[in-house]
């Protein structure tokens, strides 16, 4: 098609979106409002004992770096190449085939070529070649190498925080190169200079101090669940009684704090409470909550391996302290990637816990035999499969549902069929989005990996467009009005995305739909769903 192109100068002449025409290395970074997140609050950086805590502004020339910052990056790079074999391999083996280039939602949505995964990785690779390979040292730019300069550092920062570490690109790479891992390493290196964003640093500091990202103290956590108890009673006539830090309970339940405090996750939280009450009444199962392990999410994952490890360890410390058999995890995204890919080598094996078995069905969750942590969708699917839940899916009949595979459960742990199985059993109207936008190929919500801030809304909307576009399609085709997901970041991020792109569609967690359908022993005739909206046939 190239020969059909009209000459650029004939066209929209003064468009500043167009790069200078030079190679990507010569296209200077232009930090744009709406595309980046605010710099980390120095207090939060300090709380975590991370280096170079100070106030700085990405738009200013001077980023207040330590004098020897180049050496710090070089040494940090070397250390990680030695420590992480995957990182070294990913630096070496890319053949620049371009298969990943157009698979990133940020490239697709923003139209910025530097958001092609291959170029994102080249940010680090170009320095790797320069600093650590003979060919790079001899050939220099001809060999794709360049020295680390302040401009390169700014480019790193700008584009490594335009990657949600979603791994979609890796699905298409013939070599299995995981650009998310490269971003993770790049962000670690940036953290050595105190170059984190606040939307990550402050939640991490909160979590470190008070146990959850929002910095909610234990009594407020309990107050919130108490309030849900009242709401549940109003809707179902059932008084649930969630145990807190119950020693000797069968199972410890951990979910992202967003489920407890942020709409619409709160309805999913009520769903968990109803489900656990049901299991206690019917089968005597004791599932306890904890205000100490009050966060399943782990923004440490977006900071450094060390920080991730620190936050992850408290979940296991609490499980040990309470003497539970195993841990049940709620609907979270990156929590599951941390658990299924890193926990075992970081803090595992958790051999003080038992290999998870569902006491009601006898099912052994072999996939969790080492981490001892089971996903709520696996657990619920197993209960449904064995006929252990009495369900009335017609109570969700006014919801025409589609399912968004959250990146981390889908690509990070292979959880694809269990949520669908649950959904099909609790709702009668379920329509899939097109095949190249779901399951392993799912499109990110556009706000993962700590990018769910307000100031970068343009980036989030552009990055969220490929997902929203597929939702729009099923909305137009099948009348879909509800987007279900199993991730707290999704529940926080997708409502804004829907409001912008497909305002007719609302967002729900899966367990909210489960609890709408779940027939509680002794319940009154329900008139509304968990949101207080009339059930089908109960409208005025």
């Amino acid at each position: 098609m190239a020969d059909e192109l009209i000459k650029p100068d004939e066209l929209l002449s003064k468009i500043d979106h167009r790069p200078s025409g030079a190679g990507w290395m010569d296209t200077p970074v232009d930090i744009r409002k709406g595309m980046y997140c605010y710099a980390a609050n120095p207090k939060s950086v300090d709380t975590l004992g991370l280096p170079n805590a100070r106030a700085w502004n990405p738009l200013e020339e001077d980023w207040k770096l330590p004098e020897n910052w180049q050496q710090i990056i070089h040494d940090g790079f070397r250390e990680r190449l030695d420590k992480f074999r995957s990182f070294k391999v990913y630096m070496d083996i890319c053949v620049r085939c371009g298969a990943c280039a157009d698979k990133c939602h940020f490239f697709i949505g923003t139209g910025d070529p530097k958001n092609m995964p291959v170029l994102r990785a080249e940010l680090l690779r170009s320095i790797y070649r320069n600093d650590f390979t003979t060919a790079g040292k001899i050939l220099g730019r001809l060999g794709g190498a360049r020295p680390m300069t302040l401009d390169v550092l700014k480019e790193w920062w700008y584009y490594l925080f335009q990657c949600t570490e979603c791994r979609r690109c890796s699905v298409f790479c013939p070599y299995g190169i995981d650009t998310a891992e490269i971003t993770i390493m790049g962000r670690e290196l940036l953290n050595l200079l105190g170059l984190n964003i606040d939307w990550i640093a402050t939640p991490v500091a909160n979590c470190y101090r008070t146990g959850n990202h929002l910095g909610i103290q234990p009594h407020a956590f309990k107050d919130m669940l108490d309030f849900f108890v009242e709401d549940i009673e109003e809707i179902t006539g059932i008084q649930v009684d969630p145990p807190y830090m119950e020693k000797g309970a069968d199972i410890l339940f951990i979910t992202p704090s967003g489920d407890v405090f942020a709409d619409p996750g709160t309805y999913t939280c009520m769903g968990y409470m109803l489900l656990f009450h049901y299991l206690k009444e019917k089968y005597g199962l004791r599932i306890t909550w904890s205000t100490y392990a009050s966060e399943g999410g782990n923004f440490g994952f977006f900071t450094s391996h060390e920080t991730m490890k620190r936050l992850n360890s408290k979940m296991y410390a609490e499980a040990k302290r309470l003497g539970v058999k195993w841990i049940l995890g709620g609907e979270c995204g990156h929590m599951w990637r941390v658990i299924s890919q890193y926990m075992d080598t970081m803090n595992g094996p958790a051999d003080f816990l038992e290999e998870p078995v569902n006491p009601i069905t006898g099912t052994k969750f072999e996939n969790a035999s080492s981490t001892k942590m089971v996903h709520i969708s696996e657990f619920t699917a197993d209960l449904i499969k064995h006929g252990k839940l009495e369900l009335d899916p017609s109570r969700n009949d006014n919801k025409i549902v589609t399912f968004h595979d959250s990146c981390n459960p889908a690509r990070g742990m292979g959880l694809l069929d269990e949520p669908r199985y649950v959904l099909e059993n609790v709702a009668n109207n379920f329509y899939e989005m097109p095949a190249n936008t779901i399951r392993e190929q799912t499109f990110c919500c556009g706000s993962g990996a700590g990018l769910n801030a307000g100031e970068n809304m343009e980036l989030r909307m552009a990055g969220g467009f490929p997902r929203a576009n597929a939702v729009k399609h099923v909305h137009e085709e099948f009348g879909v009005n509800m987007l279900a997901c199993v991730c707290a970041i999704d529940r926080a991020a997708l409502p804004a995305s829907m409001e912008y792109w497909v305002p007719e569609v609302d967002v729900t967690g899966l367990t909210e739909l489960v609890a709408n359908a779940l027939i509680m022993p002794g319940e009154k005739e329900r008139e509304t769903d968990l949101r207080g909206e009339p059930l089908p046939g109960m409208e005025e």
Partner: protein, 173 residues
């Protein structure tokens, strides 16, 4: 032949040029992708852009008027208003149509400019609709920036009676 008919006859050629011109407002590598990938889910920006322009051409040919043009403009502008374009760059594809039509239909000038004047007026209407939509999209973005976390947190905390009512009831909520 009247101008609508002429326009209809040349629709595909004009649309092709217009699409290329519009897509070339992106960096060259991106433009190549936007043009070549035909799957609407793998390439939602390219395909939405194409569909918007197609619908706008139809609106011009049938003289459907501003409201129909606005409906066709919404998807493309909703995208361009979050893509770091300046306002003029985000909307300039509308104006480029004037030049493209003149190139493809030189005969339009021959009736003393009547046809081209009529068309220009329609394109001016399109431009005005485009400004309105662009601004509405930007306003929506700022509204989301301002209200997103309020909606998430204040709603639930307020229902739970954990925060003071007057603090929670900010403007617009």
């Amino acid at each position: 032949m009247n101008s609508e008919k002429l326009l209809a006859e040349k629709k595909q050629a004009i649309l092709k040029s217009w699409f290329q011109t519009t897509v070339d407002s992106y960096p060259a590598d991106t433009a190549r992708f936007l043009k070549s990938q035909k799957d609407p889910f793998a390439n939602p920006v390219g395909q939405t852009t194409y569909r918007s322009l197609d619908a706008l051409m139809d609106a011009l040919i049938t003289g459907a008027g501003r409201e129909v043009m606005a409906t066709a403009l919404d998807p493309i502008l909703r995208i361009r208003s979050v893509q770091t374009f300046t306002p003029s760059a985000a909307t300039s594809f509308v104006f480029s149509l004037k030049r493209i039509v003149r190139k493809h239909l030189p005969e339009f000038g021959r009736d003393g400019g009547l046809a081209i004047n009529g068309l220009d007026r329609q394109i001016d209407e399109m431009a005005m609709a485009a400004f309105d939509i662009y601004v509405a999209c930007r306003e929506k973005i700022f509204e989301l920036k301002a209200t997103e976390s309020r909606k998430q947190f204040f709603g639930s905390l307020k229902r739970a009676g954990l925060i003071d009512e007057t603090e929670a009831d900010g403007p617009g909520l």
